[in-house]
């Protein structure tokens, strides 16, 4: 993923300094007003009260391990579709994509389209098989016929690394955003996010996490619909008129409708698109959602609804960006002396809310943006905790002999541990350029979790040795390529030239993971390997028919 796209946080570093200037420069109040935003805080408090109520309700229904990890499998396809969409419609997507269209025009649309493409692929190949084979985590699928200890360790490592990278990005983003939108301190924001997500997950488990995500998804979809309607009403709902004005208003004029700049070489284009197509099917907090529905049928429906909601949201986000070019980009209230947008490129959608709906609507959109981060970190924390308790504790250390009670206890301790880590890292990384972390998380998901999952589902020749070597090859190569590439080596470590030339490296790490897995599986002549190949057929029966699946209706 592109660093610009995910630079919610990087842009936010800019925002923070602007906000500080504004606070210390009250005379220039007409130019920049970022005092404590009462209406935003009030609306956010309403969201918090509602979601804590939901958590209290969910806590009374969360008893067994299955309740905690998967809401007892009782979520419907439609609800799960909304929750999945909620996980995917992060603040980075909302503010970042609209900001990119605002700044670059058409290039933003190319990214937006690419972001959706993982979902149909997920449906056609992964969703129902995942539901049929797994129980609580995707490692259940990978260890179905492979050796439990090494495969669970690998899958848990892949999950935890992905989750932690994502968490850091979200925590820092939340801190910066709150500072800017609500006029509150960075540290308060990080602690507030950490405490709230802990409450949701610790007491309400998956049921609360899902409903928090559903509530937020509805708020976001509703808020963005109103925002686009208000903005388009300024153009008489005529897209042609809106575009004509946008071309007039933007400094690049008609070039905003022409692709360029962002993706120039085919290698980067393929690499980026592969990370986005394979990424969703490797993100643990997304994969986990497929175990919350009753059966394969509901799993399919989930992806159908999720694709619809995400697609709808993305189209509106693109329109927001274009509308903002006219309504925000030409309004001196939202520009600094150099003509740059106040608070950085990610603020286009937020300023637009104020421009078309006044302070109250600005408050609402700000509250939604923060709620978005909160709901996403709750899902991430639960996914990380499941990897610790279900994969590492119950299956690796206790070899499947832990009681359900012990497993739940460990997962709750893991929730506390993860939120402590998230808060600490959020504080540590306050002033770091951490924009690369989400792209690294996607690259990891696509090069570690996805290859193991896909090959264990589809390839009878896979053995533990192959999966282990290929999986770790994907993990270390994606890490190495990103560190030696332009995003970290040049942008963060300030070296003049990158050692690895491409900003997007997923193509190479995915190939290494698949190639390594293949090579070390076919050359695996061990007895264990033979037995593992032999077990594929029964796994295939279950994955295709759902017979014997956890909590399935058919027995």
């Amino acid at each position: 993923m592109n660093r610009r796209l995910l630079s919610l946080t990087a842009g936010a570093a800019l925002l923070a300094s602007t906000a500080a200037q504004a606070a210390g420069n009250a005379i220039a109040g007409a130019v920049q007003r970022q005092p404590v935003n009462i209406s935003a805080i009030a609306m956010f408090m309403a969201f918090v009260v509602l979601t804590l109520g939901v958590t209290w309700w969910a806590s009374k229904r969360t008893r067994s391990a299955s309740d905690f990890y998967t809401a007892g499998g009782g979520i419907t396809g439609f609800q799960n579709g909304l929750a999945i969409a909620g996980d995917y419609m992060s603040a980075a997507a909302f503010l970042g994509l609209s900001g990119m269209v605002f700044a670059k025009g058409y290039d933003g649309l190319i990214y937006t389209v690419s972001f959706l493409m993982g979902w149909p692929v997920m449906l056609f190949l992964i969703a129902e098989r995942l539901r049929n084979l797994g129980k609580y985590t995707f490692a259940d699928v990978a260890s179905f016929r492979l050796a439990r200890v090494p495969i669970r360790s690998l899958a848990a490592t892949g999950s935890l690394v992905t989750v932690c990278l994502y968490l850091i990005a979200q925590m820092v983003g939340a801190g910066k955003l709150i500072q800017l939108l609500f006029g509150l301190d960075y540290a308060y924001a990080v602690v507030l996010v950490g405490v709230l997500m802990t409450l949701y997950v610790l007491f309400g488990g998956m049921l609360a996490t899902t409903w928090v995500q559903i509530i937020k998804a509805c708020m976001l979809l509703g808020g963005v619909t109103v925002l686009v309607a208000l903005a388009m009403s300024k153009f008489g709902f005529n897209p042609e008129l809106m575009l004509t004005k946008a071309v007039e208003a933007h400094a690049m004029h008609e070039k905003i409708l022409k692709p360029g700049g962002l993706i120039t070489d085919p290698i980067s284009a393929i690499s980026l698109s592969l990370a986005l197509i394979c990424g969703p099917a490797g993100l643990p907090h997304i994969l986990m959602r497929f175990f919350t529905v009753a059966d394969a049928k509901a799993a399919r429906k989930s992806v159908f609804y999720a694709t619809g909601f995400i697609g709808y949201f993305f189209m509106l986000t693109v329109m927001l960006g274009f509308c903002a070019i006219v309504l925000v980009g030409t309004n001196p209230d939202y520009l600094d002396k150099a003509g740059k947008i106040l608070g950085g490129g990610n603020m286009a959608a937020v300023h637009l809310a104020k421009a078309v709906g006044g302070d109250l609507f600005l408050g609402f959109i700000s509250a939604v943006a923060f709620a978005t981060i909160l709901a996403v970190v709750a899902g991430l924390t639960l996914a990380g905790a499941s990897a610790v308790s279900h994969d590492l504790y119950a299956n690796v250390f206790r070899h499947g002999r832990a009681t359900e009670k012990q497993e739940i206890l460990v997962s709750r301790i893991a929730v506390l541990g993860l939120s402590a880590i998230a808060i600490t890292l959020g504080m540590l990384f306050e002033n770091q350029n951490i924009a690369f972390m989400v792209s690294l998380a996607f690259a990891m998901a696509a090069s570690v979790n996805f290859p193991i999952l896909a090959l264990s589902m589809f390839w009878n020749g896979l053995t533990t040795r192959g999966a282990l070597i290929g999986g770790f090859a994907g993990l270390f190569s994606s890490l190495t390529f990103v560190i030696l590439g332009p995003t970290v080596w040049v942008a963060v470590l300030k070296n003049p030239t990158p050692i690895f030339p491409y900003e997007h490296s997923a193509l190479f790490s995915i190939l290494l993971a698949f190639g390594g897995t293949w090579l070390f599986s076919v050359t695996d002549g061990s007895e264990r390997g033979k037995a593992e190949r032999g077990r594929f057929l029964y796994q295939y029966v279950r994955s295709e028919t759902g017979i014997g699946a956890e909590g399935a209706v058919a027995h």
């Binding site: 058409y106 937006t112 389209v113 493409m117 042609e240 022409k258 692709p259 698109s273 197509i277 057929l537």
Partner: protein, 103 residues
């Protein structure tokens, strides 16, 4: 679930029918989605002049804008096509298969 059930399912010609039909359908849809998307991506990246042409002379609206939206809409429609067939035809076949194996 006993291995007998597994063996009965594997021996049932409906299992081969189900997996062949469903897998063929999945692959056709995956390939269609990827061909549509990569065609769009490569035209956009390699032929920026083509994609930024106005949809009709004198208009600001370019071909690329509805094209990008269309890729998203078509992807969504294809997910609907798959879910519809899988949740009716394939699931019915699957139910028969499981029932027969359970006998």
């Amino acid at each position: 679930m006993s291995s007998d059930v597994n063996e009965r399912i594997i021996a049932n010609p409906k299992f081969a029918e189900l997996t062949t039909k469903r897998n063929r359908f999945s692959i056709i849809l995956v390939v269609s989605v990827l061909v549509i998307y990569y065609a769009y991506l490569f035209v956009a990246v390699l032929m920026p002049d083509t994609i930024s042409r106005a949809i009709s002379p004198g208009m600001t609206m370019t071909i690329g804008l509805p094209a990008g939206f269309a890729v998203m809409i078509v992807s969504f429609i294809l997910t609907g096509v798959y879910v519809r067939r899988a949740n009716s035809e394939f699931d019915a076949l699957n139910r028969d298969l499981i029932e027969e194996a359970g006998r």
